[in-house]
């Protein structure tokens, strides 16, 4: 009997809340798609760093599980409250609480089953779209990807758990609530907000905090960028405070704005204003916390989507700057004394191996020389640290010119002068103008570097470019070589073989791990391959973009579903109220306009500020790009932010329009 009753109830609800169920199904579809990506055999085979891709998606899925469980539990309890009278009637007809709970759980299970079935069907297609996007971002051929039984299993477990968690609160409520409250509870109507001015003041304060935290995030990101620091706890703290400000702002605004409008007798006496503001006041006040949370999730979606695409540009530009050549060689050192490693593969042998892979189009070499002293370091913040690894490096002017000319820079001339090429931003603040190094019996004077930036593949803070004769008595510590290959297309498998050929075993001093100072044997390759780095970055970008889209889509969908559900579930009450308005002489046009304003305000209150976060996100990203010397990419950043905002707004408007049209068809009374 319960199953029959539950099936009938679910069918009835499906008709009423189609938008909601489709959204839940879409969320299931996204979960299914991402779980399949996590266990994708194709990615496992193609991705260089599959484990971190998989880990990142798993963390996101856990996050999504928590958020969706919370939102669905709210929605389930809300739907239950809508049906209080029905459950109360069942109880008065002789059903006991266990019967009611069984019925409710049967319904939830059925809903879960329907959402799971439809979601997985949709997920089959979404998974292929996501995989195609990942492959495209990784610049690999798009193929039809296989589904993973593990992914399916995980989706079923997650969805059942989400529905179980979300029904738990409602089940407890049903177990405890009195029959009287079930039958008469819904008669209560929300009262107006007391002290709307205080709420508005709180909203303004929260807005100020929001702006303050945006500024704080910018400063923190700047600090991380400039100091190469890796501790992001402050940044995370500021992001959490930003989210908290967003929540408080929306709670306070939801309670304050309409309350204050209602205090203005002159404005509220115009047309249907009182009616509209009272409608909004009750719905916004009752849902203010939820609106705040939804705003934070939407803000997160906007920022996530923006930064993922910005990261794509950043990675592309960083690769172009850091890897100007196809293969780069840096000779490794062996033990103390800075002598070339005797185990290393000779450059001639290496070049022969490279030629078997692809013809070498051009090759540029240079060496870094050292006196073993730390004269230039004495001008930096590392002065007096006693770190014997930090000693000065010099480059011959002729090597420097040979290196920069293919990169598009003009040759440089020096006349008893030197300049410093800096790889570290903090180090760039050092003033070397008073340095007068004596090299090869001659004193050299400082001159500013002719170009602001020319990154050189080199893990040192800086090196000094001097006329060739200055290094005559110096010891050449490291050799470098840069190769451009003839064929532009890369075969990753052959490249991996080449890398293997250029790898050798050697004994090195363990500087970092436990037992530092001991000699350990390990595999070393002195050659870096642009293609590998590119591949790694493309993988990171692909997973960041897909992960961000996944989160943004789920949060956006959940928010819109809840807003649509809340709006549509109020239709019976709204219908009565608008019927009364019609009886009092309000025409259909005025009713439609009022309903539009009512639904628009409810939909866009949690959306307006989050979508406006695109502006500071773009501004901060643009500023950071400029600081990374990618000023020419600023236009793209603005374009991305505008596009993300436009796409999200479009989806939002579509949902709003669908909700409004359904509401209008049900509510507006014509004569």
């Amino acid at each position: 009997m319960f199953t029959k009753l539950a099936v009938r109830n679910v069918r009835r609800q499906m008709g009423n809340y189609l938008i909601y169920f489709m959204t839940v199904a879409f969320t299931v579809a996204l979960l299914f798609a991402v779980n399949n990506i996590t266990y994708s055999k194709e990615l496992q085979a193609l991705a260089k760093d599959y484990d971190s891709m998989s880990d990142m998606l798993t963390v996101e899925t856990v996050f999504v599980f928590l958020i969706v469980s919370f939102l669905l539990s709210y929605t389930t309890s809300f739907m239950l409250k809508l049906r209080k009278r029905e459950f109360g009637t069942y109880l008065t007809l002789g059903m006991n609480r266990r019967n009611i709970l069984t019925l409710f759980l049967c319904e939830t299970l059925l809903l879960c089953g329907v959402a799971l079935g439809v979601g997985i069907l949709m997920g089959l297609a979404i998974f292929q779209c996501f995989m195609a996007l990942i492959m495209k971002l990784m610049e690999m051929p798009v193929v039809v990807s296989g589904y993973s039984p593990k992914g399916l299993r995980l989706t079923v477990i997650l969805v059942v758990s989400i529905f179980f968690v979300s029904s738990l609160g409602s089940a407890l409520y049903l177990k405890r609530v009195s029959i009287y409250n079930l039958i008469h509870g819904e008669k209560k109507t929300e009262k107006g907000v007391r002290n709307p001015g205080t709420w508005l003041l709180l909203a303004l304060l929260a807005l100020a905090f929001l702006l303050f935290h945006i500024w704080g995030i910018y400063e923190e990101m700047k600090r991380l960028l400039l100091t190469n620091a890796s501790d992001t706890s402050d940044l995370l703290q500021k992001i959490c405070l930003l989210a908290a400000s967003l929540v408080v702002l929306h709670i306070a605004a939801a309670r304050g704005i309409v309350g204050l409008l209602l205090k203005n007798k002159r404005r509220k006496s115009r047309g249907t204003n009182t009616f509209l503001w009272r409608q909004l006041s009750s719905s916004l006040t009752a849902n203010s916390v939820l609106l705040g949370i939804m705003a934070a999730l939407l803000g997160f979606s906007v920022i996530c989507a923006d930064t993922s695409f910005i990261d794509k540009i950043l990675e592309e530009e960083a690769l172009r700057r850091d890897f100007p050549y196809d293969i780069m060689y840096a000779s490794s050192l062996s033990g103390a004394g800075y002598v070339q490693n005797p185990d290393a593969i000779s450059q001639e042998a290496a070049e022969e191996a490279i030629e078997t892979y692809a013809d070498i189009e051009s090759c540029h070499r240079y060496a870094l020389y050292t006196t073993g002293e730390s004269f230039f370091y004495s001008f930096t913040r590392y002065a007096g640290t006693g770190d014997n690894l930090l000693h000065d490096y010099y480059m011959k002017l002729s090597d420097f010119n040979e290196y920069i000319q293919p990169l598009g820079y003009e040759s440089v001339t020096l006349d008893d002068e030197f300049f410093v090429v800096v790889n570290d931003r903090e180090m760039a603040k050092t003033d070397w103008s008073k340095a007068r190094p004596m090299l090869n019996g001659k004193e050299y004077h400082y001159t500013a570097a002719p170009y602001e930036e020319y990154k050189i593949f080199q893990y040192i803070f800086f090196f000094v470019v001097v006329p060739d004769e200055a290094v005559l008595q110096m010891h050449a510590e490291s050799d470098f070589a840069f190769y451009n290959l003839v064929d532009g297309s890369y075969d990753l498998d052959s490249l991996k073989k080449l890398q293997q050929e250029l790898t050798y075993r050697t004994t090195v001093i363990d500087e970092f791990a436990f037992g530092a100072g001991e000699e350990i044997e390990k595999e070393v390759c002195d050659y870096s391959f642009c293609e590998f780095s590119r591949q790694e970055r493309l993988e990171t970008v692909a997973i960041v973009v897909v992960g961000a889209m996944y989160l943004a889509a789920i949060f956006l969908l959940m928010v819109m579903a809840i807003l649509a559900l809340k709006t549509l579930s109020n239709l019976p009450d709204d219908k009565k109220r608008y019927r009364l308005l019609a009886n009092l002489g309000t025409g259909t046009r005025e009713q439609s306009r009022t309903l539009f304003r009512q639904i628009f305000s409810f939909f866009f209150l949690p959306f307006a500020v989050p979508i406006l976060l695109s502006v500071p996100t773009a501004l901060i990203a643009a500023r950071l790009m400029q600081m990374c010397d990618f000023a020419d990419q600023v236009g793209k950043i603005y374009l991305i932010a505008a596009s993300v905002a436009a796409v999200m707004t479009l989806i939002y408007v579509l949902y709003f329009t669908a909700t409004y049209l359904i509401a209008k068809r049900n509510v507006i009374c014509s004569d």
């Binding site: 209560k188 109507t189 006496s269 009272r278 025409g587 259909t588 004569d671």
Partner: protein, 254 residues
């Protein structure tokens, strides 16, 4: 006296081609300014249909209805809304107060919809709230006051625009006898002191006895008509009871 409402040969059919119900069958009558008319009859006699077509909530199938000389059938939808707003006041059985609005906001809503100035609105509010004794309830919400108080608030809303005609559909239907009596005294006061023209639908002879004239409906037609004249309310009540017995005794007797 000016004629406020006039019905000529009004009919109303419900249903499709195969099953047709004639709810109103060639009804004709007039209501003049300041009149307090009650429509009585058994369930299904056409009382509520009659009120619906007069209130422009429903359209008559044929015939002519004019209020203050304006023929309703010729009005387009927007005009009808304006007409309802400006010329009619409503009191319903279930109060029909908006639960989200305070009593004050409910009462002044018709004036707000007419976009009257705040000053005029406040003057009108003072006038009707004092007359109907709801001044102390203005800041309360409907669920915070009793049924009788809600219905008085609904009456205040119905007359705040000085409508040509106040239409009341079973206004005492949800009230106990004491509150019913108080509400009918309010209607009487509205009619006698504020000169409101009232058309009230009821099946209760006690409620009907407060009116000056009663139209008895049966099968969509006027079956009988009574005028109170100079008689006392008790005498009028007795006569109503005798008519309802003759009608078939289907009206409730208290």
């Amino acid at each position: 006296m000016n004629q406020i409402l006039s019905l000529k040969n009004v009919t109303k059919y419900y249903g499709s081609k195969t099953v047709v119900t004639k709810a109103l069958d060639g009804l004709s009558f007039d209501v003049t300014e300041g009149e307090f008319t009650a429509i009585m009859g058994a369930s299904g006699s056409g009382k509520s249909t009659l009120l619906n077509v007069i209130s422009t909530i429903d359209r008559a199938s044929s015939g002519e209805i004019t209020i203050r000389g304006q023929e309703l059938a010729r009005m387009k939808e927007n005009k009808l809304s304006d007409f309802r707003r400006d010329q009619l006041g409503f009191v319903f059985q279930d109060y029909n107060l908006l639960d989200t609005l305070t009593i004050e906001e409910n009462i002044v809503l018709p004036l707000n919809l007419r976009r009257e100035s705040l000053e005029k609105t406040q003057q009108a509010l003072q006038r009707v709230s004092a007359a109907l004794g709801v001044e102390k309830l203005l800041n309360r919400f409907p669920y915070e006051i009793s049924g009788g108080q809600r219905q008085r608030a609904a009456c205040a809303r119905a007359i705040i625009t000085n409508p040509a005609l106040v239409l009341a559909d079973e206004p005492t239907g949800a009230l106990d006898s004491k509150n019913s009596r108080l509400l009918m005294e309010t209607f009487q006061m509205m009619n006698q002191t504020l000169h409101s023209t009232i058309l009230l639908v009821t099946h209760d002879p006690v409620v009907g006895s407060y009116a000056g004239r009663i139209l008895f409906l049966k099968d969509g037609k006027i079956w009988s008509e009574l005028y109170r004249g100079d008689r006392s309310r008790a005498e009028f009540h007795r006569e109503i009871l005798s008519v309802t017995s003759a009608l078939g005794g289907e009206c409730d007797v208290y």
